[in-house]
C-alpha cells in the first residue's frame, strides 16, 4: 500500500465508524415471526421486548416488581381490591394521554382472550380518576405480577379497530413503531415524547429469521447486530468469531419430563425416581447444551433465588440404584435387556415438539439413555399442542418440554396453575399432594412473613423433589450473539425486554 494512503484510509475508516455510530440502525434477529398484533397472541410479547408497549408493572432481573405504566400499587386491606396509580404525563405514541379509562379498555379486551389474566380471580377492572382498580373474587397476592405480563399491554384506543381487533401498535414505551411488515419485520425509532432517559440507539429493527442456522450465519457475517435463539453448538462456534461476542443469562426455565402419574406403570414415586436415576443429566448438558452447569439437580434453577433450594439432595445419575429399584418394583430385564413385568414389556411414548430446537435432540438422547436402562421409548415429535391435547384425553405418557416459570415475574402464579390438585396442561397430570397444594395456596393468599414464605417454598420444592410428578432434566441459559461494536447489552432473564434503550454503539 502507498505510504500516504494508509493513514488517509484509517482516517476515513474511523470517520465512517464515527458517523455510523450516530446513524446506524440496530439489527436484531430472532426466530419469532409476527403473525398478529394482538397482545394475547404469541407475537404480542415482541412489542414489550422492543419497548414499544408498556404494562402497568415492570420487573428487574430477579423478578422483583418495579413501576411500569403504574407508578405505584396498593391492595385494599381485605386483599380483594387493588389500586394502580398511573404515571404522570405518560403519553401514547400518537400523542394522546394515557388515561385510566384507556387502560381499563385495553385490560378488558385482554380479559376476553385466553391468557394470563385467566389465572387471577378478577371480577372487575374499573377506572377511578387516575387510578385503575382491580376487584378480586378472592385474595390473590401475586396480582401485580400478572399485570407485568405482556398479555396486559396497554395500547392506545386508536390501536383497535371497531371489532376489537388490533390494527396497529400504539404504545407508550421509549420506542415507537415506524414500519410494520408482517410477518417479518418491525422497525422502531426512539419516541420523542418518552419521559425517561433518551435512548442512545435511536433506530432499530427486528427481523424474524426462521432457521437457527441462517441466524447464526447472519450474526457471523455481521449482517445482524444481535441474534437471538441460537443453538448451543453455534454459540460455541460464535464464541471464537472476531465479530461477535456471546451474552448469556440463565432463565427461570426448566426442561422437564411430565409424567402421567395416573399411568399404571408411572403411578409410584419409586418408579419415577428410578427413571430419574437412569438419566445422565451431566452428559446431556455437556454434549448437547455445551454447558455442564445446566444439568438440573432440582426443578427450580439457581436463578429463581427464592425457589432454588441449595440444601436439597441433587438428582443424580445412579444406574445401579435404578436397576435395583426397577427390580424391586417387579421389572426384570428380558433377554434383549428390555424390562418386563408380568409379561408386559416396559414401553412408553415421549411427546415433544420442535419449536425449541434442542428438544428433539434431548428427546433422542433421553430415548437412548432410557433404552440402556431397559425402557423402550418411542419419541413423537409433533406440534406443541399435542401435549395439552394428550393431557386432556388422558393418552399422554411422557412429555418433554421447556417450562417457563417466569411467565409473570412471580413464579407463584405459574406454580399455582401447574401444581394444583387437578393438574394442568403444562404441569402435573393425575397427581396431587395435599401438603404441596396447601403451601401454594397459603403463598397465594399472601400475608405470610418472609421466613414463613421461605419455609413454604422449601416445602414445595422438597415435595416436588421426592414425588417427581415432573422430572427436571436441564435448566436453561439464554444466549445471544452480539456485535462487538455494541455496548451495554444484557439479557433479561425474565425475557421481558431486549433493553434496547440502554445500549449504545461503542467507539
Amino acid at each position: 500500500m502507498h505510504p500516504l494512503r494508509s493513514p488517509l484510509l484509517t482516517g476515513s475508516l474511523l470517520l465512517a465508524i464515527g458517523l455510523s455510530a450516530q446513524a446506524k440502525p440496530l439489527n436484531l434477529i430472532g426466530p419469532w415471526e409476527i403473525h398478529s398484533l394482538d397482545p394475547s397472541s404469541s407475537s404480542g410479547i415482541l412489542f414489550s421486548r422492543l419497548q414499544i408497549a408498556e404494562t402497568l408493572v415492570d420487573a428487574d432481573n430477579l423478578g422483583t416488581l418495579k413501576p411500569g405504566l403504574a407508578s405505584r400499587w396498593q391492595a385494599s386491606s381485605d386483599q380483594l381490591s387493588w389500586r394502580f396509580t398511573l404515571r404522570d404525563g405518560a403519553r401514547f405514541h400518537d400523542g394522546s394521554a394515557v388515561t385510566a379509562a384507556n387502560v381499563v379498555v385495553a385490560l378488558e379486551r385482554a380479559r376476553k382472550k385466553p391468557g394470563m389474566l385467566e389465572n387471577a380471580p378478577i371480577s372487575a377492572i374499573l377506572a377511578d380518576g387516575k387510578d385503575v382498580v382491580v376487584v378480586l373474587g378472592k385474595p390473590f397476592a401475586p396480582l401485580p405480577a400478572v399485570f407485568a405480563h405482556s398479555h396486559t399491554q396497554v395500547l392506545a384506543p386508536a390501536s383497535y379497530a371497531a371489532d376489537g381487533s388490533v390494527t396497529g401498535i400504539i404504545g407508550s414505551g421509549p420506542y415507537r413503531v415506524t414500519r410494520l411488515q408482517l410477518p417479518q419485520r418491525v422497525t422502531v425509532q426512539a419516541f420523542a415524547g418518552w419521559q425517561g432517559r433518551k435512548p442512545a440507539i435511536t433506530d432499530a429493527s427486528y427481523q424474524a429469521i426462521g432457521r437457527a442456522e441462517s441466524r447464526s450465519l447472519m450474526a457471523e457475517s455481521g449482517q445482524a447486530d444481535i441474534a437471538f435463539g441460537l443453538d448451543p453448538v453455534s454459540i460455541a462456534r460464535l464464541k471464537s468469531s472476531p465479530r461477535v461476542s456471546i451474552v448469556s443469562a440463565t432463565l427461570p426455565r426448566a426442561i422437564q419430563i411430565k409424567f402421567n402419574a395416573g399411568h399404571k406403570w408411572l403411578n409410584s414415586p419409586a418408579m419415577r425416581l428410578a427413571i430419574s436415576q437412569s438419566i445422565n443429566r451431566q452428559a446431556i448438558a455437556t454434549a448437547l447444551l455445551r454447558d455442564p452447569e445446566m444439568a438440573a439437580s432440582q426443578l427450580f434453577p439457581p436463578t429463581m433465588q427464592a425457589w432454588h433450594q441449595a440444601t436439597l439432595p441433587a438428582l443424580a445419575y445412579q444406574p445401579e440404584q435404578a436397576r435395583r429399584s426397577f427390580a424391586a418394583l417387579g421389572w426384570k430385564p428380558g433377554a434383549d435387556g428390555q424390562l418386563v413385568r408380568n409379561g408386559e414389556r416396559l414401553a412408553l411414548t415421549l411427546r415433544t415438539y420442535p419449536d425449541r430446537p434442542e428438544l428433539p435432540l434431548l428427546a433422542t438422547a433421553l430415548q437412548d439413555q432410557l433404552r440402556q436402562a431397559g425402557i423402550a421409548v418411542q419419541v413423537k415429535v409433533g406440534n406443541s399442542s399435542d401435549i395439552p391435547a394428550a393431557h386432556k384425553d388422558g393418552t399422554l405418557e411422557l412429555a418433554l418440554y421447556a417450562r417457563n416459570y417466569a411467565l409473570v415475574p412471580d413464579p407463584l402464579v405459574t406454580l399455582l396453575g401447574d401444581f394444583t390438585d387437578d393438574g394442568a396442561d403444562w404441569g402435573v397430570m393425575k397427581w396431587q399432594n395435599a401438603a404441596l397444594s396447601q403451601q401454594l395456596a397459603a403463598l397465594g393468599r399472601g400475608g405470610l412473613s418472609a421466613p414463613q414464605a421461605a419455609a413454604a417454598r422449601l416445602k414445595v420444592a422438597a415435595v416436588l423433589q421426592q414425588q417427581l410428578p415432573v422430572l427436571p432434566v436441564a435448566w436453561y441459559r439464554q444466549s445471544a450473539a452480539v456485535s462487538k461494536a455494541l455496548r451495554g447489552v444484557s439479557l433479561d432473564p425474565q425475557e421481558r425486554s431486549y433493553r434496547l434503550s440502554s445500549m449504545s454503539w461503542g467507539r
Partner: protein
C-alpha cells in the same frame, strides 16, 4: 442390454458409482449395525479405525447412521418410483386404450396434478402425519405418477394407432399380446430412464423434507436430517456434514450419469 464396456464413459462411471453406493447401503448396515446407540460423552469424536467417520453430536457412529440412511433413502425412493411407475403405466395404457371419457377424466386429473409441484403434494401429505413412512411414500408416489402416465399414454396412443398394432389386431391377437409384444418393448427403456431420474428426484425430495422438518423423524437416520443435524457442527466436525452430502451427491450424480446422454459428437 449392451455390455458395459461399450457404453459412454459417463454411463460407466454412473454404474460404478451406483454400485458403490448400493454396496455401501446394503453391506454397511451389516458391518455397522448400531445406528442409534449413543455414547454421549464421546460426542463429536474424531474419525478412528473403529469409527471411520467418527461420532456425531450424540456420540453415535456416523458411518452406521450413514449406511442406514443410504439404505433407507434408496429403499424408500425405489419403492416410491416403482409404485409411481406402475400406477402411471397402468393408467397411461388404460387411458390410451379406452380413450373417450376414461381418457378425458384421467388426463384432466393428470393435468391438475402436474400443475401441483411434487414437493407441494408431499408437503401436504406429510402435514397429515409427521414422519410416517406411509404418508411420505404415498406423497412421493402420487407426485411422480403423472410423468409416467403422460409418457405411457402419449407413447401408447401412438403405438396403438400404429400399423403394427393394427396388423396384430387383424391377425386376431388380443390385448395381452399387444401389451407384451408392442407396448412393453417400446416403453421399457424409456421407463428405465425415467425411473433413474425419478429415483434421484425422490431421494432429493426425501432429504429436502428432512431439512424442512416434515420428513422422517429422528432418531431414524436420513440423509437430509443428518445434514440438518450436522449443520451447526460444520466448523468443529466437518466430516459430519460432508459424509451425508457426499453420499447424496454421489447417488444423484450416479443416477444422472446413468441417463443415456445425448453426446452425439
Amino acid at each position: 442390454m449392451t455390455p458395459l464396456t461399450s457404453r459412454a464413459w459417463p454411463q460407466r462411471l454412473g454404474y460404478l458409482l451406483l454400485a458403490a453406493v448400493l454396496l455401501f447401503a446394503l453391506a454397511g448396515p451389516l458391518l455397522w449395525p448400531d445406528y442409534a446407540g449413543q455414547q454421549l460423552m464421546r460426542f463429536l469424536e474424531t474419525p478412528s479405525l473403529a469409527e471411520p467417520l467418527g461420532r456425531d453430536q450424540l456420540g453415535r457412529s456416523v458411518i452406521a447412521r450413514l449406511a442406514s440412511a443410504a439404505r433407507l433413502s434408496l429403499w424408500l425412493a425405489g419403492l416410491c418410483v416403482l409404485s409411481a411407475a406402475l400406477l402411471g403405466c397402468l393408467l397411461g395404457v388404460l387411458s390410451a386404450w379406452r380413450g373417450g371419457w376414461t381418457d378425458t377424466v384421467l388426463r384432466g386429473l393428470a393435468d391438475g396434478v402436474l400443475a401441483l409441484p411434487g414437493l407441494l403434494i408431499v408437503l401436504i401429505f406429510s402435514a397429515m402425519a409427521q414422519g410416517g413412512f406411509l404418508t411420505l411414500y404415498i406423497g412421493l408416489a402420487l407426485a411422480q405418477w403423472v410423468e409416467y402416465f403422460r409418457m405411457t399414454r402419449a407413447r401408447s396412443r401412438l403405438l396403438l394407432a400404429s400399423p403394427h398394432v393394427e396388423a396384430s389386431r387383424l391377425l386376431g391377437f388380443g390385448p395381452a399380446h399387444i401389451v407384451r409384444r408392442h407396448l412393453w418393448p417400446e416403453l421399457a427403456p424409456m421407463l428405465l430412464t425415467m425411473m433413474s431420474f425419478g429415483l434421484a428426484t425422490a431421494i432429493l425430495a426425501l432429504s429436502t423434507l428432512g431439512f424442512v422438518g416434515v420428513g422422517i423423524q429422528p432418531p431414524t437416520p436420513e440423509l437430509g436430517l443428518m445434514m440438518t443435524e450436522a449443520l451447526p457442527h460444520y466448523s468443529e466436525a466437518p466430516q459430519l456434514l460432508l459424509a451425508p452430502v457426499a453420499v447424496l451427491a454421489l447417488t444423484l450424480a450416479a443416477l444422472v450419469l446413468l441417463r443415456p446422454l445425448e453426446v452425439n459428437s
